[in-house]
């Protein structure tokens, strides 16, 4: 970078609309969420793929319906026309189509996507935001990858400390199709009726029925028949009930869907995921794109509507794209008057969503179809809920910006030299041992300043050097914040040659005591406290 002298620029110091800098504790909490999720993906043998942040414009066009207007284009500076990616699914499908030797893969991708939407920063609706996708591509025996995805989903929310606080809503496109068929929904109304059904999570049946009949011109009797099905929720017993429903079983699509669900339920039972499942006949997630099971993770009542939920409304609807376009019919666009509405109750609690999409890759490859099933985690929403909870419980304060373990300091009376070489030497020894260490970058720092620096960083241990002690080959280790009466309250002198071991032992002990510096721990504590 060159310094253009004389040119005192007076530009506006800000980030572009709808974007933000991530820093401090937010960054630490977010990173912890990412690494927790990644660890689960890897436990199941997933690999990651990193695609460019922009794609050829033509790759994205015709994929997002009316939402295409939200795509960011690069300026035409000569050469190819490109656009910033809108999601991670299209680049994945493009990659699969380009790499036809890859007939199966489990891949995850955590990366930013871009939408020129009306931002609502307080709600977390951003123009640049993270998506976290996991997809399985390939031809396997029925429902096995589907079951593993739901197992992975469950492992992730358990690992995030959401035990008992989330529900996986599950349905099957073929069952819904069958229901609409046997109830007599006309072919041209399928999409719009499905979209109405999908609103049952936030509107009462009467309202959805009114929309179907008055707005969408569906026969009232047909609506009532639909209503009898789509208001059903349950688990194995609901599945059994539907399997004995002769009208439904006579429909090929519904029959296939119910068979899939029976297989899936048996697998989920072995995987111990079944208790978290709600078979929810109103879950529709749009008509196009999905071809089999569909699911959505909700965390009912877990987020106060005013803060956490409000601050997290955008992400999960953004994920796995399907359904959005349909739901937004006629009112989509950058004007903000869409289903990512300003009403904080909209979409409360959906923190992950996905389903099976067997016909998408074919759109790119032209010939080869590769069946896929996937899920997208609303990581920024998960972040917002986690953070809001931590703030409510006052546990956020305990999150440290760094995880430095030791601060090396020195003290002395008159003629104090600062013991800089000695401090540096001790720091070097600790670094060599892999111990996270800092010291003051002052030649002669005052002792209170050094303690303050250690305190500000939330650093748990100090190694304190004094001239006399050093002459005896000793240094002092002091754990910060020990209570009056603790035997090591004023620190303990150890042999300098044993320093690394002495520090290590105390650090291990400190970490065992799990004194609230661990985000996972905090999240778990908060979760327990607020159940």
């Amino acid at each position: 970078m060159a310094k253009d002298k004389g040119e005192k620029t007076s530009f506006q110091l800000k980030v572009p609309k709808g974007t933000k800098d991530w820093e401090g504790k937010d960054m630490v909490i977010r990173d912890k969420i990412f690494s927790t999720i990644t660890e689960v993906f890897k436990r199941h043998g997933a690999v990651t793929i990193d695609t460019p942040v922009f794609e050829l414009k033509e790759i994205l066009s015709g994929k997002y319906g009316e939402d295409s207007k939200l795509i960011y284009d690069l300026a035409d500076q000569g050469g190819e026309l490109c656009s910033l990616r809108y999601d991670l699914t299209v680049p994945f499908a493009r990659w699969l189509a380009m790499n036809q030797s890859v007939q199966s893969i489990k891949r995850y991708h955590i990366a930013k996507v871009y939408r020129r939407d009306q931002p609502a920063m307080t709600k977390g609706r951003m123009r640049e935001f993270y998506q976290c996708d996991f997809d399985i591509a390939g031809t396997y025996d029925p429902m096995l990858p589907d079951a593993e995805i739901l197992r992975i989903t469950s492992e992730i929310f358990e690992a995030l400390g959401w035990k008992g606080r989330y529900t996986i809503k599950l349905n099957h496109r073929k069952i819904l199709d069958g229901i609409f068929e046997v109830c007599g929904v006309p072919q041209d109304k399928l999409r719009t009726i499905s979209s109405a059904v999908d609103k049952l999570d936030k509107s009462p049946w009467e309202e959805v029925r009114r929309e179907m009949t008055e707005e969408k011109g569906l026969d009232g009797a047909i609506a009532d028949k639909i209503g009898e099905y789509v208001r059903l929720k349950g688990s194995t017993e609901l599945l059994e009930k539907l399997q004995t429903d002769e009208t439904l079983s006579a429909n090929a699509s519904a029959k296939k869907g119910l068979e899939d669900m029976a297989t899936l339920f048996s697998y989920l039972s072995i995987f111990e995921v079944l208790p978290k499942i709600s078979f929810d006949m109103s879950l529709a997630r749009g008509l196009d794109y999905y071809t089999g099971v569909i699911y959505e993770v909700v965390t009912e009542g877990s987020a106060p509507a005013s803060s956490a939920t409000g601050a997290a409304t955008s992400e999960a609807q953004n994920t796995q794209q399907a359904g959005k376009k349909d739901k937004k019919k006629g009112k989509a666009g950058a004007d903000g008057d869409d289903d990512r509405s300003n009403d904080p109750s909209v979409g409360v609690g959906s923190v992950a969503a996905g389903g099976r999409y067997d016909e998408l890759v074919g759109m790119f490859s032209g010939k080869t179809q590769i069946p896929c099933v996937g899920i997208s985690f609303g990581v920024e929403r998960i972040f917002s809920i986690t953070k809001a909870r931590m703030e409510a419980e006052k546990t956020a304060e305990a999150v440290r910006a760094t995880d430095v373990d030791v601060f090396v300091m020195a003290f002395g009376g008159k003629g104090f030299t600062g013991l800089l070489p000695e401090r540096m030497q001790i720091a070097k020894t600790l670094w060599d041992a892999g111990i996270k260490t800092e010291f003051s970058w002052k030649v002669k720092p005052k002792l209170p300043q050094q303690f303050k620096q250690a305190e500000n960083g939330g650093i748990p241990f100090c190694v304190i050097l004094g001239e006399e002690e050093l002459n005896d080959g000793k240094v002092k280790i002091k754990e910060m914040g020990l209570k009056e009466g603790h035997p090591e309250k004023d620190g303990v002198l150890v042999e300098k040659v044993n320093l690394v071991n002495e520090v290590r032992r105390r650090l291990e002990d400190f970490n065992r005591r799990a004194s609230g510096v661990d985000v996972e721990e905090i999240t778990e504590k908060v979760a327990e406290a607020s159940v």
Copy 2:
């Protein structure tokens, strides 16, 4: 994403020019490099900041001189004009200027940057590529942050297994300034002469002298005086020699630079970095932007010119921006005829670079200056060198795409059911224990297919289920690839209830044996082998 039926698009299936998908082993090696570097940063108390991928256009303008033409702009779709970031330094300076309460920070940032340059894919010169920056902002006692940055640099290359294979070239802008002054270089020739000096790493003195005198019109006597200084290389003894040079010591700038260097050397000695340092008077890194120490990490002869080096030419010159503009004077641009040239010997071995820049933040804040010192690691170059070495040594094959530890399989004779529920149950038990596990997504997989899947994934252990053994409450653990004669060559039957412990014990043992599946280990081995 919506499926637009009927619209069979015939677009070109490719990524934009100068970009690539990262996948497979490359992704694994790259991730390992990132995590190794990040670990060192964190050991020194660094935090990370994540800035948007695009900035307001005006933030970037006037920062890159002629290279500004390489900036990617977003299309004007209404609203603010934005550009993709060109490096990570300007966004960092912008962030510091926006957050004036932050008077000091150690931050790292690993992220993609964008340059509309002429790509040379085989050389790793990309339009989208990673930078990995570490910077310390704040006012401290002299040379302390500078010393720690060089210590961090050394720790990183040691951690990457480059022991003994890298040199940190070090110089000081103020010493160079002083030399030019005492030799009598006219003010208006300072930049261009400095730029010529910087070429001494790849051209003989005669050629550089010819450039100075013939091309740049410098007096031959002045050139000769410069030549006596800038051809010096060494360590403490060179510093001592310069300190006794009366001409130089009489110059205020040189005197200050030499004092800094003396302080720095004493610190580097304590940090045990001095043996890796080459005080190289020809290192110039451009005239603008840097105000104090400058450094560059080279790995002489470590990369064969035809592959690794060639494949890695772009990154390190791209880093820490300074000097580029100067060096490229009059020939920069998107035509490829710049210092990121097609000659694979250009810039061989520079894998990290940086220096002190005390006056940059003021460009943004207008008032507040925050002194900074930083380094940028050429991660894609480090990747290319690492990978080329691994390929040369045939150790790349050992890198696994995933790190799954256990493959659960089943076998049986006539009437074999596939034991799917049992396989799922065992997998679940292992996942619960945090053990990375896969099994075949087939109801009745054939045994050879299962072995093949385990082998293809390089999975070290199989858990094999047989009906009879299960009836006895036993399962078999088999380590793959054991040699004939090994007591567990054919696997060992263990109690099913002890499975987790039995697997854990063997995994720990396996990992201790460090059988070449670890990239760090491999890199180290390669490093040793090729010294």
